[in-house]
Each structure stands twice: as structure tokens, then as C-alpha cells.
């Protein structure tokens, strides 16, 4: 038997036994029901009602990414970062540290910046997710992207998508940030080439030219 096949069989057996156990204690049935795309008006207090699942088997969920409803099949333990990159092929969200330290995987959830590596994809159903791709194709953010180019803000560029996403949110939160507010606002994004000064200049210049829409 091929190794992969064997491990699949083992996993299936494992799943069965876990489900049997969970059923035994009377809190979950083997059938998983997920309600489709919940439209949650109040983003802050909403959470994800109607969601309940167990096991390491695949789960059909729907995520609203860059304005599109996308269906995907994931295991419940999958991070938003992995779901975006491996299931939706949105590789603009970078996996760098995968431990919440670098900001490379920053996405917006209902307009607020979050590290997608520290976020379970199943918890993000019904939320508006914006990735670097979404920022890139939104005409309202074009002045910011242009400003990054004009200031030559990238050296290797690997951290830039995360910084662009965070900068976009920052300019929505504070349309005319002071240099200190820009530095503090981008403190969660690390650039190991060290082009910080150009990044900060790019954000500041964008704000002075009228900012983002």
C-alpha cells in the first residue's frame, strides 16, 4: 500500500473513533451542519451563530473574500491564512513567521487588520475579508499603491502586501496621520530589508495627496 493511502485510511479510522466518542458523550452528531453565508449586520458583536463542527474531516464552508462569496472545503483547524493561500490561491497574503509576530499575513476583517495566521477560517464565515489582492484592485486604494511605487518602498518586497493592507486600514482609521501615528500604526509589520523609512514616507505622502477612498 502506498504510504499516503495508508495514512488516509488511518486518518479515516481515527475520525470514526473520535466521532464515535463525541457522540457517546452526547454533544455532537456525526453529521455536520453549517449554515451558508450568514449576513451579519453588526460586525462587532456578531460572532458566527449556527456553527458547530467536530473532527478533522473536511468541512464545506463559505467565505466572503474581496467581495466574492467563495466556497471551500477545509478541515476545522485550518487557519484563515492557509485557507486563503492553499484553497483560494490568494497568495498575496504571505506566510512568513506563522506565529503572529511579523504581520506578513495581515488581512482586513470587516475593515480591521488582523493576523490571518492566528485566525481559524471557520470563525470568519459571514465576515468581509479583504486581502492584498482586494486592496490592489480597489480603485479607492490606488493612490496608496501608487505611492508605494513612487517611493520605491519595497526592497525584496515580501512583507509589502501585509504592510499595504495594514496601511490601507490605517488611512481609513486616521486620514491624516502624524509620522508617529504611522510608525505606531505599522508597528505590527516587520520588514527585514529595513525599508521602513520609505514605507512611512509612502503612507504619509499618500495621506497628504488626499488619501484613500
Amino acid at each position: 500500500m502506498h504510504d499516503d493511502e495508508q495514512s488516509d485510511v488511518q486518518q479515516a479510522a481515527f475520525r470514526t473513533s473520535r466521532r464515535g466518542f463525541l457522540k457517546g458523550v452526547g454533544i455532537a452528531s456525526a453529521a455536520t451542519v453549517v449554515l451558508p453565508g450568514l449576513s451579519l449586520g453588526q460586525e462587532e458583536a456578531a460572532g458566527t451563530p449556527g456553527l458547530k463542527e467536530f473532527g478533522s474531516g473536511p468541512l464545506e464552508i463559505s467565505l466572503k473574500v474581496n467581495g466574492d462569496e467563495r466556497k471551500l472545503s477545509i478541515e476545522p483547524r485550518t487557519t484563515l491564512l492557509d485557507a486563503l493561500r492553499t484553497k483560494l490561491a490568494l497568495t498575496g497574503t504571505k506566510e512568513i513567521c506563522d506565529r503572529g509576530s511579523c504581520g506578513g499575513c495581515t488581512v482586513l476583517v470587516d475593515g480591521r487588520a488582523m493576523v490571518s495566521c492566528m485566525t481559524l477560517a471557520i470563525d470568519m464565515q459571514g465576515r468581509e475579508i479583504t486581502t492584498a489582492e482586494g486592496i490592489g484592485k480597489d480603485p479607492g486604494f490606488a493612490p496608496l499603491v501608487d505611492s508605494f511605487c513612487e517611493h520605491d518602498a519595497a526592497q525584496c518586497g515580501f512583507c509589502i502586501p501585509g504592510i499595504l493592507v495594514r496601511s490601507a486600514a490605517l488611512l481609513k482609521e486616521i486620514p491624516n496621520p502624524t509620522p508617529l501615528e504611522i510608525r505606531e500604526g505599522l508597528a505590527g509589520n516587520i520588514c527585514r530589508c529595513g525599508t521602513y523609512s520609505r514605507i512611512f514616507d509612502a503612507v504619509e505622502a499618500c495621506a497628504k495627496k488626499g488619501g484613500v477612498a
Binding site: 451563530p49 458547530k52 467536530f54 506563522d98 488582523m114 471557520i122
Partner: protein, 282 residues
């Protein structure tokens, strides 16, 4: 080494009762609030158990910061650092909490992580716990058996150990009305860099006619109140005398972030900085 994620399971309770049932019935269940600590373990194969409980679905019940009529403040289990940091009542009454939430990770973390998770995780380097200790925080612990209130200063029993039983969840932090003026309070975190760092030493302190509070992180197996030093200061001890006592209340160690020797020096400097600040504001 990465964790073998194929073995992990996640459950998402839809109601408080369901969450508490799962706590009672599934052995070794690890709750996840913001996930900013638990999901780091994925990288290190450090997962303690195989089954995780994502509390995200309870945000409608537990994501709040509430100023109560009796002058107390309630911080729900799923309130994020950002929710706390930008809350007008917290800004007005609990400046140490605002400052400690501001220096926790950076905004992307603050929009996910929660102070209650910070407590449950039990790291001795927790940034918000010293502030909460200064404010005499209490914790509401809930299980299907009922609810109890525990003083935060009595919550930790050892390195990442606490008084919670396996069927309980922390549902709320309760802060009594403030005892200290902003000028009588001091917060200081010393880490490798300004943001996205874990502390080498972290301190929150306050002093007024109501008493003295000195709370420290990264100097002992748990975050601590330096009760003997507090008592000495209350009885008029000067800075040098206070430091003599504090030295015996802390137990810093060498680890990946710093050395015991450096931590002692920084603790002494912070203590003197705090006492100087108070002397200059009188």
C-alpha cells in the same frame, strides 16, 4: 517541528450552555478566545491536547466592555485588546490597562487577542495581567455547577497553573471602581523592541492614600503582586529599603529573552523610576 494538524479537532459551541457542557464532557479540552497564543503552538508541536474549543461563536454573549451602575467595569471573555484599549470608560478610569493593551503585540494582534485569554494562558510575561492586578481585578468563573468570583491575585498557583477546574471557563474580568489618580500610576514594559515583543520585565504600579500596588511580570513563575514591598512602602520605607525587600520577593531566571541579572537590574531601575515619579507628583 510543526504539529501534526490532522490529529486536531475543533469544536465551536453555539451557546454558553453548550460551551460549558463541552467543558464538562470532553477531557483535556483547550478553549480558544482570540487564538494569538494557542495558534502559535501549531508551529512547535506544543499542543497540550487534541481537541480545541473555539469560543468565537459566543461573541454575541461575551464580547463586551461594560461600565456598570455600581461603578464596576466588566470585560467579557471575548473582548479584544482593541475593544479595551479604545473604550472611553477604560481610557478615563484605567490608564494602566490602556497602556498595557497598547503594547501587547501590535494592532493586528490587539484586534484578535483578549485580556481574558491572556489570563487563562497564564504566561508570567503577560502584559495586561500586572495592570489588572493593580486594579484588584476579580474573575468570574462559570461551569454548569454555577458561578464563582475569584481574586486575580489568588488565581495563579504556579507556572501556567491556576485555580480553575477543568469544567470552568472565565467569563468576565470585573474591575472595582478606580482607587488611583492617573498621575499616581505607572506602567513600564521592557522588551527587545517597542512593539511585537515579549517582555523581559513588565511592571504596573500605583500609590494613593488607598494603598500601594506593585505588580510584576517576567520576574517569577507567575505574574505577581509584591505584597511585602507594598507593605514596607506603606509603612514609610524609602526606595533602597523597598528594593532590599523586593529582591527577596522576585525570582528572575535566565531564558531566551533575558538573564536573571539583567532582569534584577531592570526591576530595580523601574522601582526607582516609579517612586521618583510619585515623589515628583506629590
Amino acid at each position: 517541528m510543526k504539529t501534526n494538524v490532522a490529529e486536531l479537532q475543533v469544536c465551536s459551541p453555539r451557546s454558553i450552555d453548550e460551551a460549558l457542557q463541552q467543558r464538562r464532557d470532553i477531557p483535556g479540552l483547550t478553549p480558544i478566545a482570540g487564538g494569538t497564543e494557542v495558534l502559535v503552538w501549531l508551529n512547535d508541536a506544543k499542543f497540550a491536547g487534541k481537541t480545541y474549543q473555539s469560543l468565537h461563536g459566543l461573541a454575541k454573549d461575551w464580547r463586551y466592555v461594560r461600565a456598570n451602575k455600581d461603578g464596576t467595569l466588566g470585560i467579557g471573555a471575548l473582548a479584544t485588546y482593541s475593544d479595551v484599549r479604545f473604550h472611553p470608560v477604560v481610557k478615563e478610569r484605567y490608564p494602566l490597562l490602556v497602556e498595557s493593551a497598547r503594547v501587547t503585540g501590535a494592532l493586528q494582534i490587539q484586534n484578535r487577542g483578549t485580556p481574558v485569554g491572556n489570563i487563562a494562558n497564564g504566561s508570567p510575561a503577560a502584559d495586561t495581567v500586572p495592570s489588572l492586578l493593580v486594579y484588584d481585578a476579580k474573575l468570574k468563573l462559570k461551569s454548569l455547577r454555577g458561578e464563582r468570583l475569584v481574586d486575580l491575585k489568588d488565581f495563579f498557583t504556579g507556572y501556567r497553573r491556576n485555580v480553575m477546574t477543568s469544567d470552568e471557563l472565565i467569563t468576565e474580568i470585573v474591575l472595582p471602581p478606580p482607587l488611583f489618580m492617573p498621575a499616581q500610576q505607572h506602567y513600564r514594559k521592557v522588551g527587545t523592541r517597542e512593539a511585537q515583543a515579549i517582555s523581559k520585565v513588565v511592571f504596573a504600579g500605583a500609590r494613593s492614600a488607598a494603598g500601594v500596588r506593585l505588580a510584576w511580570g517576567s520576574l517569577a513563575p507567575t505574574t505577581i503582586r509584591a505584597l511585602k514591598t507594598e507593605a514596607a512602602l506603606q509603612n514609610g520605607a524609602d526606595a533602597n529599603a523597598a528594593w532590599e525587600i523586593l529582591q527577596r520577593e522576585i525570582a528572575p531566571i535566565d531564558d531566551i529573552r533575558s538573564t536573571a541579572e539583567y532582569r534584577r537590574k531592570v526591576a530595580r531601575n523601574i522601582l526607582f523610576e516609579f517612586l521618583n515619579k510619585l515623589a515628583n507628583t506629590l
